[in-house]
Amino acid sequence: MVTLEKRPQPSRIVAWSTPFMAVLATMIAGGLLFAALGEDPLVAIRTIFWDPLFGQHAFFYRPQLLVKGAPLILIAIGLSLGFRAGIWNIGAEGQYILGAICGAGMGLAFYPAEGWFIFPLMVMAGALGGLVWAMIPGLLKVRFGTNEILVSLMLVYVAEQLLASMSLGLLKNPQGFGFPGSRNLQQYPSAHNAELIAGTGMHWGVAAALIAVIFAYVLLTRHQLGYHIRLTGEAPRAAKFAGIAPARLVLFCLGISGAFAGLAGMFEVSGPAGQVSIDFNTGYGFTAIIVAFLGRLHPVGILLAGLLMALTYIGGEIAQSSLGLPAAAIQMFQGMLLFFLLAVDVLTSYRLRFGKREAA
């Protein structure tokens, strides 16, 4: 019989090895899934994990790793701060959309004027847009005790409607021959989030993600606020005893995760995506939740997890085009990752004991 036995204290080694165990389990289960779809599992796994980095067309895919990874990391870092404190912002996707709308809107307001100040203003507007959107569940929670999970999630759908309305109305390109979508910011130099070094995928969003990683690391390990976040998550009563005002922490955590998601949306719309369009959002805000947990809510972990998740995105696309795997299979693959991670997580606080118990 297998039994679970509580560890005297959570094992750090296991805590850090569970993501690897989860990735491995996902590869096995995913392989079985691909086999069931009639593909050679080894080829499928190699296409997803190996080809983007070392395959024939790796020169094209490698920069994509940063392009796809940066928004995931930036959003996940923001989310992880709240998750640490038990504040569950599930609506990063909506905040991401609002950041894109506000950032692009700010840029387009100046069109066609050029100026160095336009891009920084767009950055601020993007962050503010996400922040304000996240403040809605925040203020409702603090004031009326509503559940931030539900409210933030619902607001994603509101944001999607807003996005559609913007692409069809206010922000629609006047010279776009009636097609939905805004002007392309890539063709507006002052508002374009161009690659900093050509051909590397390195744009301002990547820089922002790296800064966010460092910021979160310092905050959590050195700053009192980070200590309060961790304390609130681990022992809410002790946090109250220590004198932490829960309301302020809720607003801070939702605010910062909203602002980071907004930034990610802004960098995306002004760079890789280029324009506000109906199908602008591709689920980064939701995938970032997986990234945050896969990275153990630790800034460095999130950096690595974001890159891994970006890899499955890119590898998934390759698998779709070269092997003809359905997109849903790839999404399922990503979902499995979170599923397995949560499952093996139990091993951090418990250990397995094999062997029969003696009968009385």
Partner: protein, 505 residues
């Protein structure tokens, strides 16, 4: 001995890093009240858990009436006639007594029959209890009766009791002892764990003393003094707290008709509590658990806000201030619940040191925390209060209850408070450590701190208090000088004879 009910031979259990029990052997005779004594971490609970089937021994054997006994789970232990009353009750507040008891049974009879059985057993053993009352409304003593009756319904041959009297008034203790006397007369054996040595002397026939997992002595409590037993437990000479004659100074903390509604559904709201504590004085507050102690502590720590003028510290109204601000002003508190309230279970001792000491010990500067200073402070606490732990980076929850208690009390004591409020400072702490904590409280008072000790341990309160009062249903009794109070006086104060309820002048 072959006539033993339970004989334990060479029982050993090791956990990573500690040997909880090392070759422990003793016998429990039928109809014997057997005391199990030892400091915190001496291995009492591990031993009991092995007997009750919660933990499996590494080696050694137990025999029940001569036949091998190795329970794999509590159910097996119960089937063999072993029942246990835990220190912490496992009852559902929202259900009535009979429902709670039915929940613990494999095959509960119809409610009406069960209620009749409960009444029968409660009459038989002198434990008054109404099966239809909702548990949330019961006192701690009554809740314990529910647990005891739950055990008695199984008709046990061996009843294990873990610190049963820590939550009882003196009168309730008497009732319990009568019950245990009846059980004993019927031939039921009782394994009795307690820190209260006088109690053991009164009740127990035989005592086994553990130290660091080994059996160090057996004695007959009636023929041994409490001091001798304590010294056997500690393995060294015990020093009792001493205090010089203190002269109380000016009023540091004043509560003026403090009334606060309890946030919990089954909590006790505070009703117009008025008191003063002076510099250099220890005020002892007695009361059975659940009579407003937790709420009073929260109202003083700042977790519960009140009207500004209801709490006055050194002339400043602070009733509406939060914990951080009060701490800055020198009002420090230590709540009863160590894990999860006074300390974060999964955080290290270093991190827990920063929990209340961030500002006063200069651990936080400009919002940034110096873990070096926090570690230094944690180390100081560990050294001065002899906290047994491998180091400052161990998680709080890896410490035994008593050791963590030393740490959280030490953390407040060492911050030079102006006013210190502690709730159950030595709860679950062994005699030697309790003496250290009490001495530290007395030393603080000596140095001019005003100290409030909330406790259910009357001996402790009589040892440290200058003045004494009791909480009952959220009201405070008259505050009287501790010297000269009889046990009857105290019992009446705790029982809430409201004609004595006079506001403190």
């Amino acid at each position: 001995m072959t006539d033993a009910l339970l004989s334990i031979r060479g029982l050993t259990k090791a956990y990573p890093g500690v040997v909880a029990n090392d070759d422990v052997s003793f016998d429990i005779l039928p109809g014997e009240v057997h005391a199990l004594l030892g400091e915190n971490g001496a291995g009492k609970s591990t031993l009991v858990k092995m007997i009750y089937g919660l933990v499996k021994p590494d080696s050694g054997e137990m025999r029940m009436r001569g036949t091998p006994y190795a329970p794999s789970e509590p159910k097996a232990a119960r089937a063999a006639g072993v029942a246990m009353v835990f220190q912490h009750f496992s009852l559902f507040d929202a259900m009535n007594v009979a429902e709670n008891i039915a929940l613990g049974m494999a095959d509960p009879p119809p409610m009406r029959d069960l209620a009749a059985r409960i009444r029968e057993v409660s009459d038989q053993y002198g434990l008054p209890l109404d099966p239809w009352r909702v548990v949330g409304d019961l006192s701690a003593g009554e809740r314990q009766r529910v647990e005891i009756i739950r055990c008695l319904l199984q008709d046990p041959k061996l009843l294990i009791m873990d610190e049963p009297t820590s939550v009882l008034t003196p009168q309730e203790v008497d009732i319990l002892f009568e019950t245990l006397g009846k059980l004993k007369a019927e031939g039921t054996s009782i394994l009795y764990i307690s820190h209260k040595l006088e109690e053991i002397r009164k009740l127990c026939d035989e005592a086994t003393i553990l130290r660091l997992g080994r059996k160090v002595a057996t004695c007959t409590p009636r023929d041994t003094t409490a001091r001798q037993m304590a010294e056997l437990m500690v393995g060294a000479e015990l020093h009792t707290p001493t205090r010089e004659g203190r002269r109380p100074g000016e009023v540091r903390l004043a509560l003026k008709a403090l009334s606060v509604t309890s946030p919990g559904q089954f909590g006790t709201s505070l009703k117009a509590i008025t008191l003063e504590v002076r510099s250099g004085e220890v005020l002892g507050l007695a009361g059975v658990a659940g009579n407003g102690q937790d709420e009073l502590l929260a109202a003083l720590s700042g977790e519960l806000r009140s009207g500004a003028g209801m709490v006055v510290l050194d002339g400043t109204a602070i009733g509406d201030k939060g914990p951080a601000e009060r701490r800055r002003m020198g009002l420090l508190t230590a709540p009863e619940e160590r894990l999860g309230h006074a300390a974060a279970p999964d955080m290290s001792l270093t991190e827990n040191a920063a929990l209340t000491a961030a500002e006063r010990q200069n651990i936080a500067r400009n919002g940034f925390l110096s873990w070096n200073r926090a570690r230094g402070f944690a180390r100081e606490i560990i050294e001065r209060f002899d906290v047994r732990t491998p180091g400052t980076e161990n998680a709080a929850r890896s410490l035994s209850g008593g050791n963590l208690q030393k740490f959280v009390i030490g953390r407040e004591v060492m911050q030079d408070p102006e006013v210190l409020v502690v709730n159950q400072p030595t709860w679950g702490v062994d005699a030697a450590a309790a003496a250290v904590i009490r001495q530290a409280l007395l030393d603080l008072a000596e140095g001019g701190t005003a100290v409030i000790v909330i406790s259910q341990d009357l001996d402790e309160l009589m040892e440290v208090s200058d003045r004494f009062a009791a909480l009952n249903e959220g009201r405070l009794s008259e505050v009287r000088p501790a010297r000269g109070l009889t046990v009857e006086d105290i019992g009446l104060m705790m029982g809430g004879s409201h004609d004595m309820e006079v506001a403190d002048a």
